[in-house]
């Protein structure tokens, strides 16, 4: 590992971060426009292109999509227009009730937002790669790099989910969070590129920290859903339904939870190599454990009937709070073995 960082690459990385912030902010604005004016749910969300689905009973299909169990559908009043839109979609040619034609620039806002955020993801990745090349190591060796990686993971989790599921409505929240995270990292966490602490010289950093970053990205997507869920009121017709938000959050957590489990286990394996014990109740370990427990509690609470909706969302957000505290708070406030933050000015 070189002792000296490559100054050109390091500077390039810093500039790419600024470009990324700019792209994320523009993407956020475009998503917001899309959300406010361009939302046509029959077109964007449930477009059953398969002719087979046409044969499927309309009510039955929607019921299965609205309720996780296919049995427990609690039809809130806000859900009715949705059901009508997707159920009637087949007959009216997939447009639903269209009050007035929208200006072309508004309908393109959603596409523009996606393009901007994919570009932002690319520059975000570019910033990490150049940073890693500059320092000659994995680019998550301190708090600054870690926050940048988590912002990238959140954006990637959202964009990948968006490929398969109609979750574009999350774009504004996720890109705002990513832009704020990057901004905060640049503003108060930035340190010069250079070698990491000796304890981090291990291939486990690639396994343990990457898994933690990936899981965090998914949990951020779930957390964004949870926040929208709580602030959404019934009049907000542009926003997705609560059931939809809950379903997306659950999906993200179902993927994120095993990854987080793996990250914790990989951390234990690394601790076994580095510190002489696989589990020692270091503050970081304690909070990783607490986060794991609360997400496990969320999954149990959801699986057993009665804890859906608001209470499940609150549990999810508590878990998310624990995660954030573990990622950021523990590094800054609590001394422990994981004090790799390398905060500026220390």
């Amino acid at each position: 590992m070189p002792a000296e960082a490559d100054p050109v690459l390091a500077a390039l990385s810093d500039q790419l971060i600024l470009v990324t912030v700019l792209l994320y902010v523009l993407a956020m604005l475009a998503y917001a426009l899309d959300l406010a004016f361009g939302r046509d749910r029959a077109e964007t969300s449930t477009a059953p292109a398969e002719p087979v689905l046409a044969a499927v009973g309309g009510t039955a299909a929607t019921a299965a999509q609205q309720g996780e169990d296919g049995a427990a559908v609690r039809s809130g009043a806000d859900e009715v227009p949705e059901t009508a839109a997707s159920g009637a979609g087949e007959d009216t040619g997939g447009t639903g009730p269209a009050p007035k034609p929208l200006p072309a620039w508004v309908t393109r806002a959603g596409t523009a937002a996606l393009v901007l955020s994919w570009l932002g993801l690319a520059t975000n990745l570019g910033a990490l790669v150049t940073r890693g090349l500059a320092a000659g190591r994995w680019p998550w060796g301190n708090m600054y790099e870690f926050v940048i990686a988590i912002c990238m993971a959140a954006m990637a989790a959202f964009l990948l989910m968006q490929l398969r599921y109609p979750v574009r409505f999350l774009g504004a929240t996720v890109s705002a969070a990513a832009a704020l995270g990057l901004g905060a990292a640049v503003h108060s966490l930035q340190v010069e590129a250079g070698p990491a602490m000796v304890a981090l010289n291990s291939y486990w950093i690639a396994i343990h920290v990457s898994a933690a970053i990936a899981a965090s990205g998914l949990f951020i997507v779930a957390g964004a859903c949870g926040v929208i869920y709580l602030i959404r009121n019934d009049a907000a017709v542009h926003l997705p339904t609560r059931e939809e938000l809950e379903r997306v959050a659950h999906r993200a957590i179902v993927i994120g939870f095993p990854i987080w489990t793996f990250a914790v286990i990989a951390g234990a394996l690394w601790a076994d190599k580095a510190w002489g014990r696989y589990w020692g109740w270091d503050p970081k370990e304690i909070w990783a454990f607490i986060t794991w427990i609360v997400y496990a509690g969320y999954l149990h609470a959801r699986a057993t009937a009665g804890w859906k909706g608001r209470s499940a969302t609150i549990v999810q957000l508590v878990a998310f709070g624990c995660l954030l505290f573990n990622l950021i708070g523990v590094n800054i406030f609590i001394p422990g073995l994981h004090s790799y933050a390398e905060l500026p000015g220390q």
Binding site: G70, P195, F257, T261, W270, W281, H300, I334
Partner: protein, 526 residues
């Protein structure tokens, strides 16, 4: 924690609430067991488990940060005493913590056992008969063509469904792996708990400080601190030994990050058992020495300058390295204590400040600017003569002269000029001299034997894999009814027994497969 996805009909919560007015001992036991194994209790215990570990991150824990616990006692002994009464310095060994996780795991066993037997029964049972009216199911589709029962069964089997047939109907089910994964995950967690417990009982941990040139043999007596599990026999320690030939720390020499460590490396000559040939091993952070499962870790390092002390009678009363405590981690400015009980006519005690890279600072002081030993100096800032109190049986730290004894000693020198290597300081009054002869380094090692490591790893790997199945697989049922008489069409219905997203998409592809007998993955087969 209890297993997920309890079917609502046999939810034990409801049974727990409906408790009869008069209960015998057996009734109470049954009520207690039902309550304990109910999902609500399990969830409460689960959240309590998380809540109970928070204090462990607020207050320093013994065995993790002993020095900070000591600081609590020094700052406010009464508060520390009270915190200790509630086990807040030993949260993870506290009885109340143990109570929570033992109840939780008991609750888990109470849930896993009946569900395992139920699942084993399910695995042998045939899928249930088709309901009369398939169109009432969450998923329903009319099928083209005149499908026979046999053909529908064959096509569903090809999709890896478990299939049973009846008069004009086919019943198919798959996704048993969900419950299997679910149960295995929870069993693996129990296994993990057992592995951790076994490791604590049958394993040991010890710390030792070794100076360059010295050796270590793995016996209880050789440790500075030895923490065995209850079942560890002192005779059973792995009989290896090693010599620390050389320790190297590499630092960044230039630029803003000057002084940051780049690498630590200790060269050991290891003998795996008495009489075995020595082998070379490079011990590094993240690369422990493994001798048959007994692991040696490099956890700290520092300087051990060597001194030669001649007493008033002209005899060498001390010669060798003195491990110093690091005072300033950034520059490795250290403090050392030399106790010379053999000095004649009076015992000598010397306090030394060791600076690896010394430069003059303001006011005649000296300071270290770099952790590497570029310009090592040893500054005697206190030399005393008198009785060091080492013979009265009270154990003393090698890193300090107890303050109450220091008061009784006679000061000889305060703040002498720093010595470079091979320089000598004569003590006044002809009581002797101190020569700074060289610089060595010490390393702190942790040696651990934990027989639960591998079982714990296997249990957690099993838990992760099982968890993935439990979360991603869905239990789903599909029924086909074939029509009777000419012109009647076949129909299919389906549902998922457990939650987890839309079954619609998969059902649609099953319908395609039923219609065409083709692989649902091939889209243009329609």
């Amino acid at each position: 924690m209890t297993v997920t996805d309890i079917p609502e009909k046999d939810d034990p919560e409801k049974a727990a609430e409906a408790r009869p007015a008069k209960l015998g001992a057996v009734g109470w036991a049954r009520w207690f067991w039902r309550t304990l194994t109910s999902m609500r209790t399990a969830l409460i215990l689960l959240f309590l488990f998380a809540l109970a570990s928070i204090p462990g991150s607020i207050w320093p824990q013994r065995g993790v940060s002993d020095a900070m616990v000591g600081q609590y006692y020094a700052d406010d002994p009464e508060l520390a005493e009270w915190l200790d009464r509630f086990w807040l310095f030993d949260v993870f060994k506290a009885p109340w913590f143990a109570a929570i996780y033992l109840l939780l795991f008991l609750s888990l066993i109470g849930c896993v056992l009946p569900r395992t037997t139920a699942h084993l029964r399910e695995l042998r049972r045939k899928p249930p008969a088709a309901p009369r009216n398939l169109s009432r199911l969450p998923q329903y589709a009319a099928l083209d063509g005149d499908l026979t029962v046999e053909e529908a069964a064959r096509r569903l089997r090809r999709l890896r469904f478990r299939v049973t047939t009846g008069d004009g109907w086919v019943s198919a089910e798959k996704g048993y792996l969900k419950e299997t994964g679910n149960l295995l995950f929870h069993v693996a967690l129990l296994g993990l708990l057992v592995a951790i417990g076994a490791g604590a009982l049958y394993g040991y941990r010890g710390n030792v400080l070794v100076v360059e040139g010295d050796g270590f043999a793995n016996t209880v007596a050789a440790y500075d601190r030895y923490m065995p599990g209850q079942q560890v026999n002192a005779e059973s320690l792995e009989p290896f030994s090693f010599t620390l030939e050389d320790f190297q720390a590499t630092y960044i020499a230039q630029g803003r990050k000057r002084g940051q460590a780049l690498d630590y490396s200790a060269r050991l000559a290891v003998s795996d058992r008495p009489g075995a040939p020595e082998r070379a091993y490079e011990l590094k952070v993240n690369e422990p020495l493994d001798v048959n499962g007994t692991m040696t870790y490099l956890i700290d390092h520092g300087y051990a300058p060597t001194f030669k002390i001649t007493d008033g009678k002209g005899q060498v009363a001390f010669e060798g390295p003195v491990p110093c405590l690091v005072v300033q981690p950034a520059t490795f400015a250290s403090e050392c204590v030399i106790k010379v009980p053999d000095a004649q006519p009076e015992q000598l005690g010397v306090l030394v400040a060791f600076l690896p890279t010394a430069v003059p600072a303001e006011g005649g002081e000296w300071t270290s600017v770099f952790p590497g030993a570029a310009n090592p100096t040893a500054q005697v800032y206190g030399a005393f003569s008198g009785d060091l109190g080492m013979r009265d049986g009270v154990p003393q730290s090698v890193y300090e002269i107890p303050p109450e004894i220091l008061k009784t000693l006679k000061p000889l020198v305060m703040k002498a000029d720093p010595l470079a290597v091979s320089q000598k300081l004569d003590l006044p009054g002809g009581v002797g001299s101190i020569e700074f002869t060289g610089v060595r380094e010490w390393i702190a090692l942790q040696i651990t034997y934990d027989p639960g490591r591998l079982p714990a790893l296997l249990a957690s790997a099993l838990a992760t894999v099982a968890l993935v199945f439990s979360l991603t697989v869905r239990r789903r049922r599909v029924w086909v009814r074939v029509g009777e008489g000419p012109g009647a069409r076949a129909e299919a219905g389906g549902l998922t027994r457990t939650g987890g997203g839309d079954f619609g998409e998969e059902f649609a592809s099953i319908v395609v497969a039923l219609n065409h007998g083709s692989n649902p993955g091939v889209k243009d087969a329609r």
